[in-house]
């Protein structure tokens, strides 16, 4: 029987470590690698030009690599549920392969396609290769719940079996007799589209700072490892002014699109460490970047509401402000705070910002200054940030806005001080906000404090050439810390003795009001683990907006009792 195979690229845009592709090739007579593109979305979807460009470059790169193997990439326009029945029939397909997608939307889409495949008698081969582990196993090992603290997650990971080795790269040897029927008009029908064809205005577009593709990814990996070996130090590097700029060894967008296999990266890191540190067992912190990614994927995989506050059982219901005007200023880099504006400008221009820069702008938007919902920030990142995928983006925003994962909320990034401490000279600001170039380092982070002469000399009058600061940071942070405290004090009502509570929230403020009777939408998460303390994972109560306090307390389950004896709770408010 002739076996005609389709391999469906979604993420996993690579030929190395692609087990679903490799396994499906075995015994196949024909192979067509496809990518399904919904061009109608290019204009309206929340994906900016840098992301599209990166994707198209990945596809070009795949196509080039496949060409070397006498194959091609088939880019198909349309929706998967429409495309597949047609292709199954037209190409007489009896086998379909793709990399497992753990995200809820992906699982739903794939279930529908599986059904179509079954109906058409098509064998489906799915393999896990976008994450280090089988996420369901992690969840299982944690008592059928995703770990909700990173420490807990690390503890579970330590108990997992070793990460599977990357699969063999697809080469002529692997392909053997498998061929790809390529028509004359392949480019016309199935070629990778250009940005213009997708409706983007490309005039004035600068060269991509982050060029997409597997080839680029693998090159960067080598460079990244070289640099680590040279430094011979695997500690987290200290943050300095240079760290803010795009690095030629940065890997996050490539991991997100799957141009680089996370498993390959993992094993290469391990090998290098062993070589440099003479066979010591690598600590978990070595894989920090990969494990954070894994952590968020795990938390998100079974939660379709993960990217929302409403209806999300792990998200604290915070009364964020609706303020489209303020949001626009933040998104477009017009806040009047050079540190924030430079970061947002870099983000829009290049598609990547350092993770501490992300913390700064995320804090500013949410709990720090503007008190705007993290969902809004998440959407802006989704549009502009190359490495923002659904799970990691939503998870990180919840984390940074103290909406979940038991974060201490006292730590606030100052939009002036933080930048100044990172880059005292202000070169980063001058690079991305040329209008402020004339300001001396003393005033470049708070130009509104500069005397008139300085502003005149800099040829930039604050309020005219550059906006005045949109908030008074001291006032905003005072108010917001109080708001966060209000919220966390309500949460701490649910905590028993002996649990670590939030700093600041334990200071007494008696509530002899009940919230009885109204829409009790203020709290949906009751937890019994505090942040920064024990390694126990809290049992998270599924939050329902109408849950009354009494009910919640009764339903709360304790996973384990804490090691330490009850800490003095000076929260008692009698």
């Amino acid at each position: 029987m002739v076996v005609n195979t389709i391999h469906w690229f979604r993420k996993g845009l690579r030929l190395h470590d692609n087990p679903s592709l490799k396994d499906s090739i075995r015994g196949s007579d024909t192979l067509r690698c496809i990518y399904i593109l919904d061009p109608w979305f290019a204009g309206s979807s929340n994906v900016g030009i840098n992301r599209w460009r990166f994707l198209l470059q990945c596809l070009e790169d795949l196509d080039a690599s496949l060409r070397k193997l006498n194959s091609r990439l088939f880019v198909i326009r349309g929706q998967p549920t429409d495309v597949f029945p047609r292709l199954f029939k037209e190409w007489q397909i009896n086998r379909l392969s793709y990399e497992y997608d753990s995200e809820p939307f992906g699982k739903e889409r794939d279930a529908a396609i599986q059904k179509l495949a079954n109906e058409a008698g098509v064998e489906v081969m799915v393999r896990i290769s976008h994450t280090l582990y089988n996420l369901d196993k992690i969840i299982e090992l944690n008592g059928n719940q995703p770990p909700l603290t990173y420490k807990r997650f690390q503890a579970v990971i330590n108990r997992m079996d070793a990460v599977e080795m990357p699969a063999e790269t697809i080469t002529f040897e692997v392909l053997k007799n498998c061929v790809t029927p390529i028509s004359e008009d392949h480019d016309e029908k199935f070629g990778v589209p250009s940005l213009e064809e997708l409706g983007f205005e490309t005039e004035g577009l600068t060269t991509a700072v982050w060029p997409g593709g597997e080839t680029e990814a693998l090159m960067r990996l080598e460079r990244h490892l070289e640099r680590k070996a040279w430094v011979a130090n695997f500690e987290r590097p200290r943050m300095n002014a240079n760290s803010l700029l795009a690095s030629p060894t940065g890997l996050s967008p490539y991991l997100r699109f799957g141009c680089l296999s996370c498993r390959l990266f993992y094993f290469k890191l391990t090998d290098l460490y062993r070589k440099v540190k003479k066979n010591h067992t690598p600590p978990l912190s070595l894989y920090g970047q990969l494990l954070w990614r894994e952590f968020f994927y795990t938390t998100a995989t079974n939660n379709p509401c993960f990217d929302k506050m409403d209806g999300n059982p792990i998200c604290v219901q915070i009364p964020w402000d609706r303020n489209p005007e303020a949001l626009a200023k933040w998104a477009e880099g017009r806040t009047g705070f050079p540190w924030i504006d430079a970061i947002m400008t870099q983000l829009r221009q290049e598609g990547w910002i350092h993770h501490l820069a992300r913390h700064g702008v995320a804090c500013f938007l949410t709990r720090g200054d503007l008190w705007i919902s993290w969902e809004e920030g998440m959407k802006v990142f989704e549009e502009l940030l190359l490495d923002a995928d659904w799970s990691v983006n939503a998870g990180s925003w919840m984390w940074l806005s103290c909406s979940s994962f038991f974060q201490q909320f006292f730590h606030c990034y100052c939009p002036v001080g933080f930048g100044r401490r990172t880059d005292p000279n202000g070169d980063y600001i001058r690079r991305y906000l040329p209008i402020l170039r004339g300001f001396p380092a003393k005033y470049i982070y708070d130009p509104w404090n500069a005397p008139e002469e300085v502003q005149k000399a800099a040829k930039c009058i604050i309020g005219v050439h550059y906006p005045k600061p949109m908030v008074n940071h001291a006032e905003a942070s005072r108010i917001n810390i109080e708001r966060m405290k209000q919220i966390y004090q309500q949460l701490s009502c649910y905590r028993g003795l002996g649990m670590d509570a939030s700093l600041l929230a334990t200071v007494p403020a008696n509530s002899n009001f009940g919230g009885n009777g109204t829409n009790p939408r203020t709290v949906s998460t009751a937890t019994n683990e505090g942040p920064g303390g024990s390694s126990k994972d809290p049992s998270v109560q599924v939050g329902m907006s109408q849950t009354e306090r009494a009910q919640s307390v009764q339903k709360r389950r304790h996973e384990e009792t804490p090691l330490e004896s009850s800490s003095k709770s000076w929260k008692q408010s009698k």
Binding site: W371, A474, G517, E548
Partner: protein, 437 residues
């Protein structure tokens, strides 16, 4: 109700009752206790459930469910309107344009004012950032003429929208409550345009009962205004205000013989403009407070520029909870170590890039009550940190240090430090982490 026994003892009868049989038993019990006639049907007559039981059950239900239940029959409707169910209420006032959260239904609000305003005792208003919501809160307040409130809270959940309401409108609404309640025990009016005259009204009517007053960031109040409260309200146990209202006279008033022990004093020190000058409080005033209320918590939140700390921490001060919301210098932290023997909790948002080794160790040495510490953008060498934890030992129940704070040195790397620290704390400990993309 008969309790179900477990299966281990082998007795099966207890676990085999059908629901109908259980109902019969309940009914019989009820009929024995309450009414003589018993309807001999297999259906339970829920309508005959005594009002006290209904009340108890209704108290577990959220308002919406309770409201549905009240539509079932007259008896349940009556129970729904029992005064006990209307003692506490939280009005949530949000506009769709400024909030994601739902608001309390306007019809419900009308109902409450009409039928239950004289039952209300513990009331709070949660408003979003729109002026409309704050004005709506004031409108409701103005109508609470028959209320004898014990507790009132005006809470802005986002921007302080009460400040946008015309002052006179706000004051007149608030005064309605002050004058009518006469038994206010707890009042939260932070971020509102309350002023000295309205405080006088508060005092004139509620001085015997007032125990808690939170009024941080009320710019229209003067030190004299708050002094009036301290002088007259001798039961005041908790007070929150801004530093500009704090005076030696105030502390002395709070320490007068007639005054109860103060439990909690919260002070916000906020800088409006860089280089702002702050007055000092005499040590003798703090000493008087300590003599009078030896156990009181002094909570101070600082939102100052680094160079505005001149007036602070030069002498001993009985502060227990200290929060630095902006960058605070090494030097000031050094002074904290010397002059804050009662310190229980210390949170430092940011310091800068010079290690706080000595300062932390000094704090460990002199602040023997310290049990909670949080460090944000600071730097501490790993060795000094371990030393700090060793000196504090197990009294540190909360140790929240951002991972970036700890600087590895020749003695400890980041991976080793958490074992050392865990050892001294007697529990597993890790620094706080932030996701790295």
């Amino acid at each position: 109700m008969k309790r179900m026994k477990g299966g281990e003892e082998g007795s099966d009868d207890s676990s085999c009752e059908s629901p109908a049989e259980v109902c019969k038993k309940v009914r019989k019990q009820l009929s024995d206790d309450s009414e003589p006639e018993v309807a001999e049907s297999l259906d339970c007559n829920w309508a005959r459930l005594p009002q006290e039981l209904l009340l108890h059950i209704f108290q577990y239900l959220p308002l919406l469910d309770r409201a549905y239940a009240s539509q079932v029959c007259r008896g349940w409707n009556q129970a729904f309107h029992m005064p006990e169910l209307w003692r506490c209420f939280e009005f949530e006032l949000n506009q769709p344009a400024s909030s994601y959260l739902k608001a309390t239904h306007p019809d419900l609000i009308k109902q409450i004012i009409k039928r239950h305003s004289n039952h209300l005792q513990y009331v709070s208003f949660k408003v979003d950032s729109s002026t409309e919501s704050a004005e709506a809160a004031c409108d409701i307040l103005s109508q609470l003429v028959n209320c004898s409130l014990k507790t009132l809270g005006l809470i802005s959940t986002a921007r302080p929208s009460f400040m946008e309401v015309p002052k006179s409108h706000f004051i007149s609404a608030l005064t309605v409550v002050f004058v009518n309640s006469k038994s206010l025990s707890s009042l939260k009016i932070d971020d509102t345009p309350v002023d000295d005259p309205s405080l006088k009204v508060l005092v004139a009517n509620n001085s015997d009962t007032l125990k808690l007053l939170k009024m941080s960031s009320c710019p229209h109040v003067s030190p004299a205004g708050i002094l009036c409260v301290a002088d007259q309200c001798h039961g005041l146990r908790e007070l929150a205000l801004n530093y500009h209202l704090l005076s030696d006279e105030l502390l002395l008033a709070l320490s007068s013989e007639k005054h109860v022990h103060l439990e909690h004093l919260r002070i916000d020190v906020v800088s409006e403009n860089p280089g702002q000058h702050f007055h000092t409080i005499k040590k003798s005033s703090w000493d008087a407070m300590m003599r009078h209320s030896p156990k009181f918590n002094l909570v101070m939140y600082f939102f100052l520029y680094e160079d505005e700390f001149g007036p602070f921490f030069n002498e001993e001060i009985p502060v227990t909870h200290l929060y630095f919301g902006r960058s605070v210098s090494k030097e000031v932290l050094g002074r904290v170590g010397l002059h804050c023997p009662r310190l229980v909790e210390l949170v430092v948002c940011a310091n800068g890039l010079r290690p706080l080794d000595e300062e932390l160790i000094r704090i460990a040495k002199h602040c023997t009550q310290l049990s909670a510490i949080g460090l944000g953008e600071c730097e501490v060498s790993c060795s000094a940190f371990v030393e700090f934890v060793k000196m504090c030992g197990r009294r540190l129940s909360q140790l929240s240090i951002m991972e970036e704070v700890l600087i590895p040195d020749h003695k400890y790397s980041l991976d080793e430090i958490h074992w050392e620290v865990s050892k001294h704390l007697g529990r597993v400990w890790f620094p706080d982490m932030m996701p790295t993309w």
